[in-house]
């Protein structure tokens, strides 16, 4: 794909999707701005190497992530099945159940969705830092199809089942142990399903979705963590009560202490929308001069579509400094790249950290903030992530 094509596609996506501020701009290529030829990468200290199919932060220069840096996580294995004759069922509490072939879906109105998709465990440890990517998904909107099917008045929840299945053991090692084979499923309220601009996607960045990423049809839920974006989508079922499958009710459940009148009360909640987050992707330097080492930092910030207003960067115990946000490319549900000239630093070790601030004034917390420190589970790892570097003189 050439830059020009990409640009046009992005503009198209902006016009048809829920994005803002894409019109009338002259897009440069999708690279971090202001990085010059004489800037050298300063590697982060003590970070594991980036393997294939993971975002390589230090070489990040494309706004839409190339396929070889796209992660895939699945809980019931990658299912093997014939996509020929594949059909998607819409069933349950609807007036007119439907069965759609891939051709039926592709014949429906086409829509693009620019979106950053992050695994909710991303950032939980040094060993899992790269499970995030930005894409242009193409498919057809789900809401009109659901309307056409006619939701019955008692419909409360919509469950999305994948092809992948596994035997689950409940109440393991007790007298009431129960083994049951279930399909992978996640659910949304009817309200969310009708209003979040869900997509039945079959393309990513203009190419058919790779099998490991959910082909032939993947549910796209803008602004929600990866787990909600059900892969190998097979059945959409409308129900009158809450679905409590493992990945809604038992796993992907955040357990967090909240302070109430001086007491810490633990609350369990299902992992849903993405949290405000930023990270320093790369630090570069130029040749040392009289004043020290000229250093710049680059990174990305994203959220659930609320809107990143500002990113600040701090070196060691210094003040927070405002980074420059790329005005383009920009899309509501996609990450925004930022850059900052940190001036001259002394040779030696430094810590560089970023924090995002959204349009409502919410600030990305640090690891010792209550909402992170009292979180007992690793999902929703959106704390600030300090980067360690060492500048040689």
């Amino acid at each position: 794909m050439t830059d020009q094509q990409t640009r046009r596609d992005i503009l198209k996506a902006g016009a048809t999707g829920m994005t803002a501020a894409l019109a009338q701009m002259s897009l440069p290529s999708f690279v971090f701005p202001a990085q010059t030829e004489d800037e050298d990468l300063v590697p982060f200290l003590d970070m594991p190497r980036t393997g294939p199919n993971r975002l390589d932060w230090e070489t990040l220069d494309e706004w839409l992530t190339p396929q070889d840096q796209v992660f895939s996580v699945q809980h019931y294995g990658v299912p093997e099945f014939e996509t020929e004759g594949f059909q998607l069922e819409i069933t349950g509490l609807v007036e007119k159940p439907q069965t759609l072939s891939l051709d039926d879906i592709k014949a429906m109105p086409k829509q693009d969705q620019l979106m950053t998709l992050e695994c909710s465990g991303n950032g939980a440890s040094k060993g899992f830092m790269n499970a995030v990517y930005n894409s242009k998904w193409t498919g057809t909107p789900l809401a009109p199809i659901l309307k056409q099917c006619g939701l019955k008045p008692e419909a409360k929840e919509i469950v999305f089942f994948g092809v992948d299945r596994k035997e689950e053991t409940l109440r393991k090692d007790t007298k009431r142990e129960l083994k049951v084979e279930v399909p992978f499923g996640r659910s949304l309220s009817v309200e969310d399903a009708m209003n979040l601009n869900l997509l039945l996607a079959y393309e990513r960045n203009g190419e058919p979705i790779e099998h490991r990423n959910g082909a032939p049809i993947r549910l796209i839920v803008p602004g929600w963590y990866g787990i909600a974006n059900v892969k190998w989508l097979k059945r959409i079922e409308v129900r009158d009560r809450r679905y409590m499958g493992r990945y809604m009710g038992r796993d992907y459940v955040t357990v967090r202490g909240e302070r109430k009148d001086g007491e810490v009360v633990f609350v369990e909640s299902s992992v849903t929308r993405m949290n405000l987050k930023s990270i320093v992707a790369r630090v570069t330097r130029q040749a040392t001069d009289d004043k020290g080492v000229p250093v710049k930092a680059y990174g990305a910030a994203w959220d659930d579509g609320t809107g990143v207003k500002q990113v600040e960067v701090k070196v060691d115990d210094g003040p927070w400094q405002t980074a420059k946000l790329d005005e383009e490319p920009h899309a509501k549900f996609s990450w925004t790249f930022f850059s900052i000239d940190l001036g001259h630093l002394k040779p030696g070790k430094h810590t560089i950290v970023s924090r995002a601030i959204d349009v409502n004034g919410r600030i990305q917390p640090s690891a010792d903030d209550d909402e992170i420190a009292l979180k007992k589970t690793y999902w929703e790892a959106y704390q600030q992530w300090p980067r360690e570097i060492e500048l040689e003189s």
Binding site: P48, R49, Q74, F128
Partner: protein, 254 residues
């Protein structure tokens, strides 16, 4: 009902392809030199045998960036490639029974990375896996010759014997089930003519019986492959520098 494919070490079909392509490596360019991976290449040079030596160089192309370069090429102007497995594969396999005395090498899990990432040993050698992180890791490998899956709480040791040579085509690819970015490769040979390069990119294969060989180089983490026919003569030293470029990245097995 559909069949469910078990996760491979890299957890996806691409990983499986990489696994089959048999690619290699070890410790970080900036990390300390591994202490326990001295390749058992024999003792003093013999007059009845030859030597093959050289340096592995990676030649970058600014237009075709190889994103792993920063891990394995310390000086991009010189291009010495670290963590490449260099091996002399004999045209005819020896029928003599191995007299190799098994050794134990160590692979640590440190800072969410296998250290070294690439290890080359002889059949019968043991690998002692350690976990120096204050974190639960795991060591697992799916291999036609031997599969294992061992939980590694902080401080645990696990010793695995590699009895059968997978040679250059079939390394034992090692992963951690909890941290899929962690990768390691164990190359097992049925002869002593192999080495893993350090940051200077150099190799020296001594005491090689005269004959026709294929000099092969793989760099599994970097997905590089190279090979050339070579003849080894008694009492002589052949110097062969191995030059690779983006053309050799992710090359299909020939």
């Amino acid at each position: 009902m559909q069949k469910t494919r078990q996760r491979r070490p890299l957890g996806n079909p691409i990983g499986a392809i990489v696994f089959l392509l048999a690619v290699t490596t070890f410790a970080a360019v900036n990390a300390e030199e591994p202490q326990t991976t001295e390749t058992p290449t024999g003792s003093e040079a013999s007059q009845d045998a030859g030597t093959v030596q050289g340096t592995v160089y990676y030649h970058p192309d600014p237009k075709r960036k190889w994103r792993y370069q920063r891990f394995y090429v310390k000086n991009s102007k010189v291009g010495q490639l670290a963590e490449a497995v260099v091996v002399l594969t004999p045209e005819k396999r020896s029928r003599e029974k191995s007299t190799h005395k098994p050794q134990t090498v160590t692979v640590d899990q440190k800072n969410f990375q296998f250290t070294p990432e690439t290890t080359a040993i002889q059949a019968g050698d043991r690998v002692k896996f350690l976990n120096s992180d204050n974190q639960v890791h795991n060591v697992r490998s799916y291999h036609p010759f031997r599969s294992f899956n061992v939980s590694m709480p902080a401080g645990k040791e696990h010793v695995e014997t590699f009895a059968k040579a997978g040679r250059i085509k079939r390394p034992y690819q090692i992963g951690c089930v909890y941290h899929s970015s962690m990768r390691a490769w164990i190359y097992v040979f049925d002869h002593p003519n192999f080495q893993v390069t350090k940051t200077d990119g150099q190799f020296e294969l001594k005491n090689v019986p005269p004959g026709k060989y294929k000099l092969e180089m793989v760099h599994p983490a970097g997905e590089l492959q190279w090979s050339q026919e070579i003849e080894v003569n008694a009492g002589k030293t052949e110097t062969v520098d191995i030059n690779v470029s983006p053309d050799d990245v992710n090359k299909k097995d020939s």
